[in-house]
């Protein structure tokens, strides 16, 4: 099977509110950045384009159609879209390259999550007959999951605060982060709960922005003369929507995806995990069987800035950046979708 190389990545700052900037204006600078990294002019210079976005975050049907305006799709291009995080747009692009219909692909994701009340909006992704009418928001569901972890003795509020403190400290080195700084566990624990047992700091902030990536065959990366990271494995799995039938303190689908992606076949120096809530990083780290030698979320992760529909792709981009800079040789990236980590994607990236 054709080996896939990541050759370019860019993400925007995580802005609490992008103001009057529209989606195209959020996307364009990221596209320019990745084209610049490769030395391309526009989307005409890649063989395939795939994006991830969500109509409900834009508040109108066909959010991605405006996105096409950012591409310069004249003459027409080969283009597709998933109503998912752009990590899954990457997955679709890999299929396209492996079937031999493309040697290179542009992948991007974007959202202006600040336009609505994100936790409430996300309640409408639940079963439309039995759960959505209750308007159970995403924070409340995550709080229930955290409560289960605490009651089973699988996490403590202190351990959760430690995740947050590390995220903020790591984010000091991330110019795109929304939240960063030195903050002590005691300070964090001194704050009131938001939706118990979660404190505001346990929840990813709402952000606007976009991210873009260019992937290609290893041959193409060599032809372009670019440093690259190989995607040596990628898999994704979904599990039941019935929360009562899941063990919410574990992530079975992450385990399966990790196995499929071959996480265990080598050391994991860095893991970038899409954990929008601090306790979910604890669940994911266990599901991925990460040891003390793995640096988790060196970018700060999404607790430091969460680009809806792009954060999964950004996790992969963050690992890519560390590989091409020579900092690490092998890392794992993760993306998630759905309430309480229902759907998970795992990718393994390795140096050339």
């Amino acid at each position: 099977m054709k080996e896939i190389a990541v050759v370019a990545f860019s993400q925007s700052d995580c802005l609490a509110q992008a103001g009057a900037a529209n989606e195209v204006e959020l996307i364009m600078p990221q596209l320019r950045a990745v084209f610049g990294q490769v030395g391309l002019n526009n989307a005409q210079d890649v063989d395939f384009v795939c994006s991830g976005s969500c109509d409900y975050l834009q508040g109108a049907a066909f959010a991605f159609v405006a996105g096409v305006d950012a591409l310069g799709a004249v003459p027409p291009i080969k283009e597709s879209h998933v109503e998912m995080d752009a990590a899954w747009a990457l997955y679709e692009s890999i299929l396209k390259i492996r079937m031999g219909h493309a040697d290179s692909a542009l992948v991007y994701g974007f959202a202006k999550a600040s336009s609505g009340e994100l936790p409430i909006v996300l309640s409408q992704q639940l079963d439309p007959y039995y759960l959505a009418p209750l308007w159970v928001d995403s924070v409340s569901l995550a709080a229930m999951q955290a409560r289960l972890l605490l009651e089973k003795g699988l996490a403590t509020e202190r351990a959760m605060a430690e995740v947050v403190a590390r995220s903020r400290r790591h984010a000091l080195g991330n110019p795109h982060a929304q939240l960063s700084g030195e903050v002590s566990v005691e300070e964090l624990l001194a704050a009131d709960t938001f939706v118990a047992p979660l404190r505001m700091s346990d929840c990813a902030p709402v952000a606007d922005g976009a991210a873009a990536m260019i992937i290609c065959t290893v041959d193409k990366a060599r032809e372009w003369g670019l440093p690259y990271a190989r995607i040596s494995g990628i898999d994704h799995r979904i599990e039941t929507h019935n929360l009562g039938m899941r063990d919410l303190t574990d992530s079975v689908s992450t385990r399966l995806a990790a196995e499929g992606a071959g996480v265990k076949r080598g050391p994991v120096q860095v893991a970038e995990l899409y954990a929008p809530f601090s306790h979910q990083e604890i669940i994911l780290s266990r599901a991925l069987a990460l040891g003390d030698d793995t640096v988790v979320n060196p970018s700060g992760g999404v607790l430091a800035g969460n680009l809806m529909m792009a954060s999964g792709l950004s996790r992969i981009g963050e690992v890519f950046r560390r590989i091409v800079s020579g900092e690490i040789a092998r890392g794992v990236a993760h993306a998630t979708s759905g309430p309480c980590l229902q759907h998970n994607l795992v990718a393994v990236l390795e140096s050339a």
Partner: protein, 387 residues
Amino acid sequence: MAKLAAVVGIGQTHYKTRRGDVSIAGLVREAALNALQDAGLGWDDIEAVIIGKAPDMFEGVIMPEIYLTDALGCNGKPMLRVHTAGSVGGSTALVAASHVQSGMFRRVLTVTFEKQSESNAMWALSTPQPFSVHLNAGAGGYFAPIIREYMRRSGAPYDVGIKVAVKDRRHGARNPLAHLQLPNITMQEVEDSMMLWDPIRFLEACPSSDGACAMVIAAEELVGESPKPPAWIRGVAMRSEPTMYAGREEVNPQAGRDCAADVYRQAGITDPRRDLDCAEVYVPFSWYEPMWLENLGFAPEGEGWKLTMSGATSLDEGGDIPWNCSGGVLSSNPIGASGMIRFAEAARQVRGDAGAHQVPGARLALGHAYGGGAQFFAMWVVGADKP
């Protein structure tokens, strides 16, 4: 080189105004079970599920794959959700095929649906886009001026659309799954129906349907495990262009022409009217048949309407290149599934499994879908013969 793949199972629901007897999950599961039964397979034989539908705002369920995984036997497996506007049914089939053609999967299930009775498509299509000009036109209002321009350029007689409306409904009357059952429809009846968006009359427009369509796509080595003849995937193509740009050809879009050229090249087709035995083409408003006949190369520019009027596209009139024998989008329109129904009906024809709307001896067929402002295109060519 793409790995060989074929459609080995097809399942559809009845298309109706309202399927009040099933939930959204029940609807997609019905189509999926029909496809598995057709393929002689069970849930455990499926490695991944690829789902598609039109905008989430129709039914008001965000990312419905999250809720539908249980109904589609996908727990523990990969699930991907495609959304490319009206072409989504076709695009979803292509993304599903790419799972197998990439060599990463051996057998996948793909499902598309729309439950318009639990939805309000006109509202969802007319919500103002932030920072954009608000058209508030719906689909018919958007396409009517483009159709008028086609009529002006081609000099086609006023009743070409009426003829298509009658032809596709008579085709639909042969298909027990079709939503509209109008075996005795007449040209006069269509002409007398209410003008909705001049020149599109009520009976020249597609209905609003509930329904789902599913297919099982298998790799070459597993094709023999299913009992019925396969439909080999001979070519796949997608193209997109922006909704608006200076000089955009809206009547005969470049993206459609490019997409057709690409899929024909893969399938070795040089003259589509001669080489193909039939086609299932996305015609939601009657006049799009002559327009797409030209866009897809079945007729020279300005002459598509002549094929329609001569009966060339009619199964009832013994035409040489029947279009939309299933009744097409004009007879059934569960929006998110409509493109996949075209792809699946093309496959049914080359499997020799299209019942009363079978084109005798069909060996090679085109499936087509378009969406947005006629700017997103998805096509495949399927054949009875292994390439």
